[in-house]
């Protein structure tokens, strides 16, 4: 019941929600997270962004993270989509969706997957602003977020 995909194309939130909820009378709770390109990062005007990934490893890493989430919480359907390539301001980057009989499990699993994705999955962002190109630096706060689950 896992759908994990790395793609150039945009995704539609309703379609992802439908895939989590349709013909699913068991799960009363659905949680969706969407990460989007913000207009600023450390003060520069970001206009575009390039997302690079490590093909093969990125997919495996996302599968491993979802498997870990399944060990910890009672979740039934999981969807993870990560876009790569050239993205513009406000574009959707990533979606994580979970369904569960219990809202606590759906929330926790979705946040866990995002926290591990941020620190472990081989994706890299390069921001393109009026100042030129700049590889995004990893943030310590992401490590801190992950450590909450350990």
């Amino acid at each position: 019941m896992d759908f994990i995909n790395i793609q150039n194309e945009d995704f539609n939130v309703q379609q992802q929600y439908d895939a989590l909820s349709q013909s699913n009378t068991r799960d009363g709770a659905v949680v969706l997270f969407v990460g989007r390109v913000r207009d600023f990062n450390e003060g520069e005007q970001v206009t575009e962004m390039v997302l690079e990934h490590y093909p093969g490893m990125a997919e495996k890493c996302l599968e491993d993270i979802v498997a870990k989430a399944r060990e910890r919480w009672d979740i039934n359907r999981v969807r993870v989509i990560h876009r790569v390539g050239l993205l513009s301001q406000s574009d959707q980057i990533v979606l994580v969706g979970t369904s569960s009989p219990h809202r606590g499990s759906a929330f926790a699993a979705a946040e866990f997957i995002m926290d591990y994705l941020k620190t472990d999955a081989p994706f890299w962002k390069k921001e393109i602003s009026d100042q030129g190109e700049r590889w995004v630096e990893a943030r310590n706060s992401d490590e801190t977020q992950k450590k909450r689950w350990q």
Partner: protein, 83 residues
């Protein structure tokens, strides 16, 4: 000698100017020895010197040292920033 593949990503790929290279290594070569050798040979690839350099072997993140074997795919990259 054993052939392995080394892949580079993000800023390290830009610095090295290559996506991947095949290398011959001796038996019982450790990941740390491979990295030290690359650092020696390519001092202008400054990302290699960073202490937060990340490494994966055969698509698994490696945080400790490990022995490399023929056919291994080693990947070196800066900390990830997806999501």
């Amino acid at each position: 000698m054993n052939t392995i593949t080394v892949k580079f990503f993000a800023r390290l790929r830009e610095q090295s100017g290559v996506d991947a290279m095949d290398l011959e290594i001796g038996d019982m070569t450790k990941l740390s020895e491979l990295i030290a050798q690359l650092q020696d040979q390519h001092q202008d690839w400054t990302i290699l010197q960073q202490k937060n350099l990340m490494a994966a072997v055969n698509h698994s993140m490696i945080t400790d040292d490990c022995l490399l074997a023929a056919g291994d795919e080693v990947a070196l990259f800066p900390p990830v920033t997806g999501g």
